[in-house]
Amino acid sequence: MKQYVISVKVENRFGVLARVAGLFSARGYNIDSLAVSATEQEDVSVMTIVVRGDDRVIEQVKKQLNKLIDVIKVSDHTCVPTVERELVLVKVTAPPVKRPEIYQLGEIFRADIADISNKTITLGVKGDPDHINNFIELLKPYGIKELMRTGRVSLLKE
């Protein structure tokens, strides 16, 4: 199944998230990530939804999204040039001997050190999803204790 990125501008009102999410869940689609955020307009929110499915069903979901009264605009960011960002926090096992290596890795990925304890380091990285995937892969050998991604936000390129 293909991965799709759908950006939905909605009225900034209660209940809208449930309406939008409901259209996916009613079809048995698991949303990979969902970011809801403010926009340049106070009364408009944007939802960036990453979901797997097939063309036909996603096409149908987009039409159904458009039918929701609170949805202002649906754009498919899957096959068009966009800028995307995501943030990850990774808590990695870091005995003193391994720390320099982890710091170095963090530097390459422009990570910030969010927290340090006796046994762990928590790093934060922002970037496009590939950048973050690479970072996670390289940290795996040290032992990832906890990991959390925000889900991506996506803007169309000018």
């Binding site: 309406r19 149908q60 039918k67 202002i72």
Partner: protein
């Protein structure tokens, strides 16, 4: 003004004629205000009955049906009715009471999340959180329910909003930036469709409920007159084109006519108008219309290319689009095709094995109803065999004369819907063609018809079975009639009498016509006619679920 009065004043502004509903704790303030309302209130005996009655009223009149129910069980009892209206695009505004705002989410007495429960079965819904929004929300609800592709809208009103105070002002206009239905079809697409039709050799029109909703029956008739193209309709489209006309192919689909299904599947251009390619119409999608280019006129873009790939989509209102096409269309040369179709109609008519003794054939009852009402009645149906026979053997010639739960297939719909239809159309005879199973699902509403002296005629095609399921069990499930025999049944005649209605039992074929005549003479109360029909009669033709029209079963194979 109190919130409750704002609701009543808003309904007055919407020129509401009837409201259907049932009281309860948190809606007492609204009922207090309703006591002096100038419109009529119909107290049903179950909230489901209220929603179906409002739905029947809406379908018969083309106006918005209005309902009120209390919170909790009142709201959940509305759910089936709302879903029924949603699937068939019926405009309803349903008010539900809700617990006080501060109690929401506390599992308060009679609290359910009504907007949550109804989210997937409404066109839109509201939880009123500020009394200042109340009149705007009602205005929007009526607008949303009745425009574009219509549907039910629910307004959940917390009791402290009903009891609150605010100045009343009803907005003149609605402006919802994200909701702008498109009515006029795209001119280029319309031209393209006309060209395609003009060069077609085997075109067929497939008209659905959208033609009824947009009041486009006249435009459709004119289109047929101009082009000479034969017309088949869906269940909900019955009546948009007169079935008595030689170009009428009547209903298509699972229990459609042989010639409608063959014509559609052998067509080279299929013109879908206000129809949505339901699985009961298409059967096996992969083998549906193998050689046809598809033109699809529909107001809902989400209906286009949903299950069947469309070549010329026209998003717009059927009425506008057909009127536009009528201005420019030229008739295609299709005399060979029409000849082919008339041969099919002659060789494979819609028929049944006439009775060979005194047993009553259910199809005959429907035919007799058609004869005695001159086809001028409004027919409501329940769901199952009764519905299909009513669709097949009564010939519909006008829109809004066949009222049935198509999409959801709700047993128990027909009778309360008939009450609503009779209120909307006091000038017409309203007949509910029912089964002995379905009629028991909302029989409590009989007292409402008695109370309001509505002469709704309930024709029970009583075979002692849940007949459609039994038919499937017979044909596809080894004849194991598991829990479909319901001949342990009430005495429907005594039941009618207990309610103050008239009741007759008809056991012999020759009694059918006189009993109907007698019933049609009664005009001051509902009548139950308990027709004891032959028990194992099946609905044919039948295209088994999920198969292609080629697998059509025309008649009883097992003697």
């Amino acid at each position: 003004m109190k919130g409750a009065d704002i609701i009543v004043e808003s309904l007055k502004k919407e020129k509401v004629e009837y409201m259907f509903g049932y009281p309860g704790g948190v809606v007492i303030p609204i009922f207090h205000a309703l006591h002096n309302a100038p419109f009529k209130f119909i107290l049903t005996r179950h909230e489901q009955g209220a929603v179906h009655a409002a739905d029947g009223y809406a379908r018969a009149s083309g106006r918005v049906g209005v309902v009120i129910a209390t919170s909790g069980p009142g709201a959940t009892n509305c759910v089936t009715g709302i879903a029924t209206a949603h699937l068939d695009s019926v405009p309803l505004v349903v008010f539900t009471g809700q617990v006080k705002r501060e109690q929401i989410g506390n599992d308060a007495f009679q609290e359910v999340d009504s907007t949550g429960i109804t989210r997937p079965i409404t066109k839109h819904n509201y939880l009123v959180q500020d009394i200042a929004d109340l009149s705007r929300i009602i205005k929007e609800a009526f607008y949303i329910a009745s425009t574009g592709r219509p549907g039910p809208v629910l307004i959940d009103v917390p009791v402290d909003i009903s009891n609150g105070e605010h100045r009343f002002s009803y907005p003149d206009t609605v402006n919802i930036r994200s909701y702008k239905p498109v009515y006029e079809g795209h001119q280029g697409q319309i031209r393209k469709a006309c060209h395609l039709i003009e060069t077609a050799k085997r075109p067929v029109i497939y008209a659905g409920g959208g033609v009824v909703i947009s009041n486009a029956s006249q435009e459709l008739r004119e289109f047929v007159k101009k082009t000479g193209i034969p017309v088949t309709t869906t269940l909900l489209g019955l009546g948009v084109y007169p079935e008595t006309d030689p170009l009428a192919l009547e209903m298509l689909g699972m229990h459609g006519t042989y010639y409608a299904n063959h014509a559609v599947n052998e067509s080279d251009v299929l013109i879908a108008v206000g129809a949505r390619f339901d699985d009961r119409v298409t059967g096996k999608i992969a083998e549906f219309i193998p050689n046809a280019k598809v033109i699809h006129i529909d107001i809902d873009p989400a209906s286009v290319s949903k299950t069947v790939k469309v070549d010329v989509p026209i998003v717009g209102d059927c009425k506008y689009v057909l009127a536009e096409m009528n201005k420019q269309i030229k008739a295609p040369e299709i005399s060979a095709w029409i000849e082919e179709i008339s041969v099919m109609k002659r060789d494979h008519p819609l028929t049944y094995e006439k009775n060979n003794g005194t047993s009553i054939k259910p199809q005959y009852v429907v035919e007799e109803i058609y004869r005695q009402t001159n086809g001028e009645a409004i027919i409501c149906t329940e769901v199952g065999q009764n519905q299909m026979w009513a669709a097949q053997f009564y010939k519909y010639t006008e829109p809004r004369t066949f009222i049935s739960s198509g999409g959801l297939g709700t047993m128990g719909y027909g009778f309360p819907a008939a009450i609503g239809a009779q209120l909307a159309r006091p000038d017409r005879r309203v007949i509910d063609i029912a089964g002995d199973g379905s009629i028991q699902m909302n029989i409590q509403e009989l007292i409402v018809a008695v109370q309001h002296r509505l002469p709704v005629l309930i024709a029970i095609l009583n075979n002692g079975f849940l007949g459609m399921v039994r038919q499937w069990q017979q044909l596809f499930w080894e004849k194991r009639y598991s829990h479909t025999c319901i001949d342990f049944a009430p005495d429907f005649v005594k039941l009618a009498e207990a309610y103050g209605a008239a009741g007759f039992r008809i056991e012999k074929n020759e009694e059918v016509a006189p009993a109907l005549r007698q019933a049609l003479d009664i005009t001051d109360r509902p009548i139950i006619l308990d027709f004891r029909v032959s028990r194992e009669e099946n609905v044919y033709p039948m295209v088994p679920a999920g198969q292609s029209f080629k697998e059509i079963i025309m008649r009883e194979l097992l003697a």
